[in-house]
Symmetry: D3
Subunit: 248 residues, 6 copies
């Protein structure tokens, strides 16, 4: 089987993470996964949402958006429509949950970290690129807090990265570009830790179904790919910083 | 291990489906899963969304809501807030996708079936109860179209039902009630067909992660439970109607 | 004259009130008036709206909604539209005013009682059924406060119930079902107390007018019907509770 | 009993109607009822709402608003809040219904008349002043259609005017100013035709109730007052125009 | 060149300012500039926006709206649309900035003055008429504070007035009526003080451009016209009050 | 006088324009003016707004937004707030007007060009950078239409660029960065053509005023700076393309 861009089924697109892409944010990256490009910024604020007030715990949340021409056909802005769409809400809830899964919220203290993931160009896999990039932006912001003496160490227990897998013409493939995504019978987003545990699995058959065996093959592909992406994250963060994660 | 309501880990709560609960809808049920109660109505309209105009295909979509006192503490109405929350959007997208997975949209013709799932009382598992109930309401509505000669046969290839599974204190359990849901480290919603294929898997660790082995045990539990729920659906639909499904 | 459902002009449809329909609400009923079905829940909260802060008084308010298939043709959800319609606002203001007319707000103390009236099935008279049912739900909630020692007695001076009357083909009739409502030249909603005093009269000629004499005949019909409805309320509340009302 | 502004119980405030107050509208008046001042404009458009398309009938509708300093304390604009309040919706629905009651919608043809009632200064009775003024503005606009040969005659069967009545310290009074309105136990708005038939009666006890006898005394007061207001309307419209009404 | 209403290029329309047009507002005027009519009210409140809390400074802000039939064709209400348009926001921001330019916000103290400018009839120049009128309403309100001993003197350093200028068929003209505005290649709104300093210049070529020389001729026209308008303002305010301005 | 970043009063920050920054848009640039960075994309669609339907003319419009961390303190998304702020509306209207001033809308035909200006990082002058960049993106998109034979030539009569000028501590300066902007008494945005004609002048004194002489000095500064910016635009567009502009 030949993929549209010549990749092998198990081959990721190139992943490039540029740290400190924004001069104002406490942490930031530009992440590129093939032609998909997302700016991720991490903002640290000394406040928590109402439901956490006075509990001595922090919070991690995310917002996601696409520029109108991130896509082939111009998308109407959600600010102009006056409301967020279901897809946007679903994605930003996913990013937030994924990052919270490895965060020690007590150790973070009464702070909120907001990850803004703004898609500059979309060629499939924007939500998984957002998770992978937002994780790095978050660690950069936390490291700043450590350097400023606000935190003793980075209160994160493991790496987090994500990718998509799917079945196209019966073949399980990884990291679907937009053209593949549109053609896939089954589409699965997988978020995993650096030690290979699952954080989130969202497998869905749009007008199709899948067997347990197919699911297992997709998870094998995802696990291998996420392991590769972790290496890119480690490189950007540097040995010292990467080592600090998980040593809570 | 003792569950809060005395059930065994693999034991479902009683599932009761009352058909034709509403005198106006083309199909309707009241589904009760323990203390969770959802009214599901199926509306058939001779129109399709703009993106399907002129393609000769139909559409299946869903809306989900909770009455203010479906919950222990009164929830503010989304109509009063002026917008749908992220959770609501996520759930109604899930229900729609699940039902479309077994529907032959070409055979349905230029019609839209809207499944309204209104939670009267919520004790955990409202989204999976909605899927299970909405499937039956949809079949009842389709059967009416067959009886009226609008369709030759029910254009559905398999049964659809759903349940939740999760890990509580390290033990995988099925069909979590609200108190269990709040305590679960991992929460997974599984939608399957009558022939045991997956339609949707949404596994998520809120401030936690899970291993591949744990995932497998959860899927085993879900598969067995959904098989049981299918029996309730078949009973409500009756032999003849149940037999008609999948004979496309 | 023959009414569409065979009733006599002065004959109400059967009124059935099922108390404690919801396991979470402080008070709740399912009220059925013919095929009209409304779930009414009463929520008690220890707070008051801003305009009453610090005045030592309580408040009673109501919200009203219809499920999409409460009606013959599916109604778009107001949550999806992003705003409440004029009819909804008018009705929920009416229900609130009606219940406040017999409530001793000082004796209630700094509490708000919210009556949620959700129409499951609509066959005319949903607003008057809501008032009749909400009154019972409110008394059940207040009784719980008395039993818990939060209130000395039920701070309500009289029963409240409502019905509709109208003129069809020149004949005054009571408790119009949907088909009659659509055909009526004059439509009047009447809210009265158990001792026969008026709380609210809303008479309106849609593309028609009515004489003083016609109005008097409508009010006679309404008074007799409301007296009957009061008997159903008394039966549901039980002798002891019914007796407690008005003994402030 | 002494009323706050020295009037007798049955005495109206001076009613002044200035026709053609706006140079653009097809019909317009400034109506002053004491210190209450409302600009009413009638707009004629060659279109009807969707539910009337192709039925050969017209429509009459109304919108109502208050300038921020129409009131003693500045009111936040509904445009700034982003939604209409319940009171506004209730009032504009009332005005529309009242005017439609005497309009021959078939004779009007496929046209919509929109009455905009903007309260410049509010001292009680703004909704009834709006109805009284909007009726005159509507007739002026219809007369223009007659003069232009678009209509054969004014398709209105009777005069429409409105006033408020209420009970203050046990005394029934007419045309309550703001200070009286706030003190009234019972408040009733009455809309009547020039021949003394009712169009709308909205009587309401806010935290109070009223007897049938009290209601009768209020309606007597209202009927006499509306008869007086009709004279002002006739004077503004002139003999010829006033005569044309009701000769359909 | 002949202007549509017979004026000379440098000739203003008659400016009439009626003070105390509203009985509730702390300051109010009706300003008429030809057929353009705006009600301006000034509301004084003892509070400031959040960004000024605790700084001992006050604020001046403005809101602007048009009645639906202020215009030849009925405009849909922004309250009905649920949001303010860009033009409205632009104008109300302009009015607020213009008035703040001469206000000593420290001397005003922790108070907010809100200028509501409601256009009753629009025939061009509504934003500049609003500024001219709102200035007078504001001074009237401030004078009331002085009279009540809340302020020692009027904390305003100069008069403020505004007019429009534009180029029609190559000829610079002042105070464009609606028909001229629609035909103008260049449109400029100028706000100036009584001593001839600029507060705001907004010159714009809609589908056109203009030279520096043209701009200079427009500013000469505007300066002369605003000087005339200042005389009307002084007359309305009276010698004593006019003298008080600028004597901070 | 020493500016905060060491520039001379008449010195611009470096302007860098990267063309074809986005792979989907018909035209696109990344424009950097010092630390201010804006992505401008031009979308061509074969449709026009309702008010131009059937007139054989095209339209040019713009939308403007800032990423949440474009600024030092995180800004809440307008999509989350559910409405556009006044500043956003004002800016996007300005950008649209500026570009339309040199466009031959008849020659464009029934097409709409939408310029999306998304601020990635904001350090003052975002609206003027947006205009300068959007102009280049628009020419790139128009050139594509020419190359595809859809247009005979680029229907634009002149270059468009913009900058800000202001008065800080009494000294007129050009191209204010954020720190200067906050300190300026007068702030003026100037849009000019390549041949030195004005398109838009927006000069405003926030809590200050300015003399005619000061205005003249600001306009001199702006004219010189815009001339420099035009050179950068010409370089990006290349000799051939730059020459094509204005040869309509």
């Amino acid at each position: 089987m030949q993929r549209v861009d010549g990749r092998k089924p198990e081959q990721l697109r190139p992943v490039v993470i540029t740290p400190d892409y924004n001069k104002y944010a406490e942490g930031s990256v530009l992440i590129e996964v093939g032609d998909t490009r997302v700016i991720c910024t991490a903002t640290v604020e000394d406040k928590v949402p109402p439901f956490l007030k006075g509990l001595g715990k922090g919070w991690v949340t995310a917002e996601y958006a696409m520029l109108p021409r991130a896509t082939g056909v111009r998308t109407v802005r959600e600010s102009a429509k006056g409301k967020l769409g279901g897809r946007t809400m679903e994605i930003q809830r996913l990013i937030g949950r994924a990052l919270r899964s490895v965060m020690d919220l007590e150790a973070l203290g009464e702070r909120t970290i907001t990850l803004d993931c703004d898609v500059i160009q979309a060629d499939g896999g924007t939500r998984t690129a957002s998770i992978t990039g937002a994780f790095v932006a978050m660690i950069l912001a936390l490291n700043k807090l450590v350097e400023q003496g606000m935190l003793e160490k980075i209160p994160v227990s493991d790496l987090i990265a994500a990718t998509s897998v799917g079945i196209i013409n019966g073949v399980p493939v990884i990291d679907l570009c937009y053209a593949e995504d549109a053609a896939a019978a089954v589409d699965m987003n997988v978020v995993m830790t650096g030690t290979g545990r699952f954080v989130e699995i969202q497998g869905t058959g749009e007008e199709a179904t899948f067997s347990r065996d197919e699911m297992n093959r997709l998870l094998d592909l995802a696990a291998a790919g996420i392991h590769e992406i972790n290496q890119v994250q480690r490189q950007v963060l540097g040995d010292k910083l990467a080592a600090a994660i998980g040593q809570v």
